[in-house]
């Protein structure tokens, strides 16, 4: 019925995921890194929703899981920013490569 194959949605999700991943691993600005992570989560959500329609056993579960993922992502964004701000207060920078406390 649908003229758009499932793999098209999956491919879109894959590309978005890769973009997010690239951003998360290369960008220096912490805010952008956080945003990139959100983008990756979104890509995953697309997959979830896709499979809820085109899966082997399609059901509403995929969408419910996407909802959960969104809420967790929201919480994560909030906490992430809180951490970012408190870090910024002590370090006066948002550059991720200056945050290397794990080294010692």
């Amino acid at each position: 019925m649908s003229s758009v194959p499932a793999s098209a949605f999956l491919a879109l999700a894959l590309i978005l995921f890769c973009i997010g991943l690239y951003g998360a691993l290369t960008k220096r600005n912490t805010v952008i890194v956080l945003i990139s992570i959100e983008l990756m989560l979104n890509a995953v959500n697309i997959n979830l929703v896709t499979f809820s329609k085109y899966g082997i056993a399609p059901s509403i579960t995929g969408q419910v899981f996407a909802l959960f993922a969104i809420s967790v992502a929201a919480a994560e964004a909030a906490v992430g920013l809180a951490i970012l701000i408190s870090l910024y207060r002590t370090r006066k920078t948002v550059n991720i490569d200056e945050m290397d406390t794990m080294k010692n």
Partner: protein, 622 residues
């Protein structure tokens, strides 16, 4: 009685254990424990010996160790040789136990001494009733330990320590020969039992080369234990031990174990001409070699020690010339007169507190009992007619002559001359003339020291008469009874041999008399050609030094070389491993920038790599 013969070695073992555990509390009383228990052994041995005269060989065994299908057994056997040895060993041991009560009096480790004596006696008695090679080897080693402990009894003396160590290691070299021989023989005959080995040899189940090889290997064991050339050097050093020990171990019993071993395995040796000849040559050479060293030694015990080595060589010569009876006979008489000589020497040392014969002299009058007893021993060993040594030595000379090697016979004759000479040199220097140093408080030894000597003195005189050409060869006939492989009971030799032996020994005595008593011949007449000979003899042909320079130095050198390898190569390997690990660690720690992104990047890249590999190969590793 014979079925209870296994008890004989256990009495001294009991003594050993009691004294080891309670010696501290028993103190002086420990002597009585030792003496009584050895006496029990002696009584049993005499009973067994007499029973054996009339009854056949008794033997029994039980499984000792199971290895798959192989059942190694332990047990005991009372044959003629064993019964005789039981008697000799327990007798000498008992006498030495008694003697030591006086000699060792006041030593703070008195109980320990008796404990060691018990251990040694146990091992020696166990050795002589073993029915198989393995058991023989076990007791053989235990005897070595007993000897080791007793030599090192004065542990605080460096010389004693060195002597003990030397004795143990030198005999162990020999033991390894025995060990290898024993195992090779086992795989050839599938048994350690003497009877089965002889049966296999008799049936021709073992190849001639193998017989020769194993026989010579086993003989190496005997060489080590009996102080034959070239493993003789430990025996004179072993004189660092207390004198009763020298009498027991290094004269009468343990050193004779080598001879006993050859005698016990005689059918095996008899099957190989080469092995017999080897034994005879080594024996004859040792006899004359040791006798020549004995000519110049100045320590009373060392002279006796070299004399022991020489006499053991005699016995080996006898066995090697197929004179089984002669060898065993001389073993017996030698046990008596040499034990007597050592005990008498101990008595002398006890009196004058020195072992250097140059410092003695004129003791004949002061030691009224020891002197004559020592003389009896000297006469016996010199082979003066009428005493025990004469008969046994004659037997050996006959055997050597019949053996078909005249050179060996003449060597033995020369050795006999030397024996008579150095023994009387010893006697004259110690007992006659004037005292050459100040000797205070010289007194005769207490009774418990003299009685054993008297008994041995009697035996030294009469023991020969059990096997003489004049009154019948009772001992010889009995020994070979029912066992044709051992040869004839008594070989009638030409009469001139006996005369020659007598002349030679009397000549030796006369020379000694002239040189050391009358001093009509200057002492350096023989070595007059120069001091070189004397120096060589005094230094025992530099054998010790030779070993020191070759074997010991080689061992040390090899050890240091290996340590070099250990330190540089093996440690280098370790360092290499450590270096690699450290290098990896360093590289790893450089990557630890502390930046989450880097970690993420690396982790992700690796994951991607894996995923790609899986994607390309199609999943699960095949």
């Amino acid at each position: 009685m014979m079925e209870n013969a296994w008890l004989i070695p256990l009495f001294p073992l009991l003594s050993f254990l009691i004294l080891l555990l309670f010696g501290k509390r028993l103190k002086e009383a420990s002597a009585y424990v030792g003496i009584l228990l050895t006496l029990a052994s002696l009584v049993f041995s005499i009973l067994v010996l007499f029973e054996r005269f009339s009854e056949p060989t008794y033997s029994t065994k039980f499984d000792w160790l199971t290895i798959g299908d192989l059942h190694l057994t332990a047990g005991f056997e009372v044959n003629q040789l064993n019964a005789l040895m039981l008697f000799i060993v327990s007798l000498v041991s008992f006498l030495v136990h008694t003697y030591s009560k006086g000699y060792m009096n006041g030593d703070e480790r008195f109980p320990v001494f008796y404990a060691y004596l018990g251990l040694f006696t146990f091992a020696m008695l166990g050795l002589v009733i073993s029915p198989n090679l393995l058991q023989t080897y076990i007791f053989w080693e235990l005897v070595g330990v007993g000897s080791f402990l007793l030599i090192g009894f004065y542990y605080y003396k460096e010389e004693a320590k060195a002597a003990a160590k030397k004795a143990f290691i030198m005999t162990r070299i020999g033991d390894v020969g025995l060990f290898i021989g024993m195992i090779l023989l086992f795989w050839e005959t599938k048994s350690f039992e003497y009877s089965e080995i002889f049966a296999a040899v008799d049936a021709g189940a073992v190849s001639g080369t193998m017989i020769t090889l194993t026989a010579i290997l086993i003989f190496i064991g005997a060489v080590g234990k009996s102080g034959q050339f070239p493993l003789h050097t430990w025996l004179p050093d072993a004189m660092e031990g207390p004198t009763p020990v020298s009498a027991l171990i290094h004269a009468a019993t343990m050193v004779a174990a080598g001879v006993y071993l050859v005698a016990a395995l005689f059918p095996l040796f008899a099957a190989s001409k080469t092995a017999l000849l080897t034994i005879a040559v080594i024996g004859a050479f040792t006899a004359i070699f040791a006798a020549s060293i004995g000519l110049v030694q100045t320590d009373i015990k060392r002279v006796l020690a070299y004399s022991t080595v020489s006499q053991l060589g005699y016995m080996m010569l006898a066995l090697g010339s197929a004179g089984y009876v002669a060898g065993v006979f001389h073993l017996m008489t030698h046990a008596f007169f040499k034990a007597l000589l050592f005990l008498a020497a101990g008595s002398v040392i006890h009196a004058v507190h020195t072992q250097n014969i140059e410092e003695m002299g004129g003791l004949w009058k002061k030691l009224k009992l020891t002197g004559p007893l020592f003389l009896i021993g000297t006469l016996a060993i010199s082979g003066v007619p009428g005493l025990s040594g004469f008969f046994s030595k004659d037997e050996i000379l006959v055997a050597a002559w019949e053996g078909g090697h005249p050179i060996l016979f003449f060597l033995a004759l020369i050795a006999a001359f030397m024996t008579a000479f150095y023994m009387f040199r010893l006697f004259f220097l110690v007992f006659t003339g004037e005292a050459r140093s100040e000797q205070k408080h010289v007194h005769e030894s207490p009774n418990n020291m003299t009685y054993p000597m008297i008994l041995l003195g009697v035996l030294a005189v009469i023991a020969g008469y059990v096997n003489t050409p004049w009154f019948g060869s009772f001992l010889g006939d009995w020994l070979v009874d029912g066992n044709p492989a051992l040869g004839h009971g008594h070989v009638e030799g030409p009469i001139w041999i006996m005369i020659a032996a007598t002349v030679v020994s009397l000549a030796g005595i006369y020379f000694a008399y002239l040189m050391y008593r009358k001093r009509s011949i200057a002492r350096n007449t023989i070595s007059g050609t120069g001091d070189t000979l004397h120096t060589i003899l005094l230094n025992k042909y530099y054998v010790d030094e030779f070993y020191q320079l070759t074997v010991v130095a080689f061992t040390k050198g090899l050890s240091y070389f290996l340590r070099f390898i250990d330190v540089f190569l093996v440690e280098g390997l370790v360092k290499g491993v450590v270096g690699i690990v450290q290098g990896l660690g360093r590289t790893g720690s450089k990557m630890q920038t502390g930046q989450v992104q880097t970690y993420g990047a690396v982790a992700f890249f690796s994951l991607a790599l894996l995923v790609v590999i899986f994607a390309l190969t199609g999943g699960y590793l095949r």
